[in-house]
Symmetry: C2
Subunit: 350 residues, 2 copies
C-alpha cells in the first residue's frame, strides 16, 4: 500500500471557519480540457470613458452626476438589492416556510477616477485611501440603528459578473448577519470560548511557522492559501495582530494592509499575464453593538481561474450537490503564487 501524499492522493480537508469539508483531487489537474473558454478582458481602456457610469463627472442612468472625484468615491447603488424602507409584516411562519423582511443599504465604491486602472496597478498610497474609505463606510453605515453588518466586497472581471471594468467594489450593509458570516462567527466564537484565543491568530501562527502555504507577508499581515481553500488560487489576507474590524487598524497597519492587497493582486495578474478575475471581501465583526472578541479581521480572495487566462474552475454538479472540490493542492498553489514576481507584468520593461 502506498503512503499518503497530499500532492497526489484524493483527500478531504476541514474548513474550521465554516465547519465543512472540501474534496481535494490533486492528481486531477492533469486531465485535458475541452470545455468552455472565457473571453479575455479588453486591455486598451481609456483613462476616462464618456460612456462609463462610474467615471468622474459622468451622468448615471438615474440622471445623477458623479462628483469630479480624485481618489475614491462612494454613492448609493442605483439598483440596490436591499432597501432602507421598513415594512409592516405579520409573522405567519411555520417551520418549513420561514420568511422575514430584510432592510439594508447598498453602496458602490469607486477605487480611482482612472477608468483603466485596477487595484494591482494602483499605487499603495491610493489603495490606502480605498481602505480608509472602507473604514469610514463601516462606521457610517454601522452607526445606523438598523444596520448590524457591513459586507465590503469586489467583483472583478466579467467572469465574476462585473458589468463595468472601472475599478470599483460594493458594500452591502444590512440588518441580519448573512449566512456565511453567521457561520464564521459561530465557529470563531466556539473556538474563542474554548481557548480564549483567536482561531485565526492560532492558525496564522502555525502557517507562518511552516511557511508552506504562505504567499507573502509584511510586519502586520500575511497572505496565505488556506489549508482548506476551495478555489484553485484562493487566498486570505490575515492580520497578524488579533483585532475585530477595519476601524481597529493603526495608520501603519492600514499601509501594510494596502501593501498586501497590492502584492497579492499583482501576483494574480502575473499568474497568467492577464487582469485576473476574482471576488474578494472582508469578513469582520458585526456592527451590532455587542462585544465580539472572537472576530479576527481578514479578507478573502476567491478567483475562478484554474489553468489559464481563459479556463476557469467550474463549481457545478458535484460541487453544488456534494461539496466544493479542487484540482491542485493548496500547497502547490501557494508555491506557484509565492514564486511569481512581485512586479506587475505590464510595468516589467519600464
Amino acid at each position: 500500500m502506498q503512503h499518503f501524499n497530499h500532492n497526489e492522493h484524493p483527500h478531504r480537508r476541514y474548513n474550521p471557519l465554516l465547519d465543512e469539508w472540501i474534496l481535494v483531487s490533486p492528481h486531477r489537474a492533469k486531465r485535458p480540457w475541452q470545455g468552455q473558454n472565457e473571453t479575455l478582458p479588453e486591455d486598451n481602456r481609456p483613462e476616462h470613458d464618456e460612456t462609463c457610469y462610474l467615471c468622474a463627472g459622468n451622468v448615471r442612468a438615474n440622471g445623477i452626476k458623479n462628483e469630479d472625484y480624485t481618489n475614491s468615491y462612494v454613492f448609493e447603488n442605483d439598483f440596490s438589492a436591499l432597501l432602507k424602507d421598513d415594512v409592516l409584516y405579520e409573522t405567519k411562519n411555520n417551520s418549513l416556510f420561514q420568511l422575514k423582511p430584510e432592510r439594508g443599504i447598498n453602496k458602490v465604491v469607486c477605487f480611482s477616477p482612472k477608468h483603466n486602472l485596477t487595484l494591482p496597478e494602483m499605487e499603495v498610497s491610493d489603495i490606502e485611501k480605498v481602505v480608509q474609505t472602507w473604514a469610514e463606510q463601516y462606521i457610517e453605515l454601522g452607526n445606523q440603528d438598523f444596520i448590524n453588518y457591513v459586507q465590503i466586497f469586489e467583483n472583478k472581471g466579467s467572469v465574476m459578473g462585473c458589468s463595468n471594468p472601472h475599478p470599483h467594489g460594493q458594500i452591502w450593509a444590512q440588518s441580519s448577519l448573512p449566512t456565511q458570516v453567521e457561520k464564521t462567527q459561530k465557529n470563531l466564537r466556539a473556538y474563542y470560548d474554548k481557548n480564549k484565543t483567536s482561531l485565526l491568530k492560532d492558525y496564522l501562527d502555525q502557517e507562518l511557522k511552516s511557511g508552506e502555504r504562505v504567499v507573502i507577508e509584511n510586519n502586520h499581515f500575511a497572505v496565505v492559501v488556506p489549508f482548506w481553500a476551495t478555489w484553485p488560487y484562493e487566498t486570505m489576507i490575515i492580520s497578524k495582530r488579533h483585532f475585530g474590524s477595519i476601524i481597529a487598524m493603526s495608520k501603519e497597519e492600514t499601509t501594510a494592509f494596502a501593501e498586501m492587497i497590492k502584492a497579492i493582486t499583482v501576483k494574480y495578474d502575473n499568474l497568467f499575464n492577464t487582469s485576473f478575475p476574482y471576488s474578494s471581501g472582508i469578513h469582520q465583526a458585526p456592527t451590532d453593538r455587542v462585544s465580539h472578541p472572537e472576530w479576527h479581521f481578514h479578507m478573502h480572495f476567491y478567483p475562478p481561474l484554474l489553468r489559464s487566462a481563459t479556463v476557469k474552475k467550474f463549481m457545478v454538479g458535484y460541487e453544488m450537490l456534494g461539496e466544493a472540490q479542487r484540482d491542485i493542492s493548496p500547497e502547490q498553489s501557494a508555491k506557484i503564487l509565492r514564486e511569481l514576481p512581485n512586479q506587475h507584468y505590464k510595468t516589467k520593461n519600464q
Copy 2:
C-alpha cells in the same frame, strides 16, 4: 408604512434542508444588464460524431473503445477525481489542520447513443432506462464496502462546465458523506426525530395544497420551485410517497419520475427557446448499511440562466461572502415555468 409583499420587498427565506437563509430581492430583476453574455450552444450536432469520446463505438483518450450501446452506457471516468486505492495514512491532525484520505469511484453515464439529443428531447421510455441505470449503479456501487454515498448528477451546457454536449451525466461514489448531503441528512433527521414524519413529505403536502410554487405534477411526483430556491429557476422533483432511495421506486413510479424529468427539462428549454443549461442531481439515502427513515428521495435542478438564453445569474461577491441571493421571487418563477407549454419548442410545428 407599506405592507410587506413578497414579490416586491427584500426579504430572507430559510432553507430547512441546509439550515441556512437566502436573500430575495424581487424588485431587482428590473435593473439593466451590461455585463457578460454567454455564448449560445451550437444546435446542429450530428446523430453520431466521430470525434466524440462518448459516442458508441468511438475510442476514448485512454485507448478504450466504447461499446456499441443502444440505450444508456456506463464506464469509469478516465479522469476520476476520486480513486479506489487505499493509502497508508498517519493521523497527525490538529483542530485547525484536519485532513483525511478519501476513496471513491467516478463514473460517466451516457443517456443515449444519439449525440444530438438531450433529456428533454428523449422519449420518456428512454429516460426510464436512464433511471433504471442510475438504480443499478446505486446498488452496484453502494454494495462495495468502501462506498457509503452515491452522488448521481448531470452538468448540462458549457456554462455549467460540461465539456461534451453528448447527453450524459456522472456518478461520484465515495466513502464519506459529502458536505451538502451531510447537512441535508442532519436536518432531515432532526425533523424526523421530532415529528416522526418526513420533512419533505410535510413540505410537499403544503406546497400541493397552496399550488403557488408547483410547476407540474403527476400521480407520484411533483416539481416545485422550492420556497427557499436560490437559482432563478431552481426546481426540485419530490416523490409524493415517502421513500429513501431510487431502489425503492415501483415500476410505475420509475415511469412517473422519468415523465417529470422530461416535463421540467422541456419547460426549461421552452423558457428561452434554447438548450437550457443546469446542474441537476439526486439526493437520497446513503449506502452505509444503516437505516435512514429520515431520507426522502428528491432531485435538484440548479440552472444558472436569469434573463435570457445568454444572461445568467452570477453567484459572486455578496453571494460567496454573504449569502445566496435571488432577483425574482420563487413564486414569480414558478408561475412562469407553470405557464410554459409542455411540448418542446423544437417539435412544436411537427
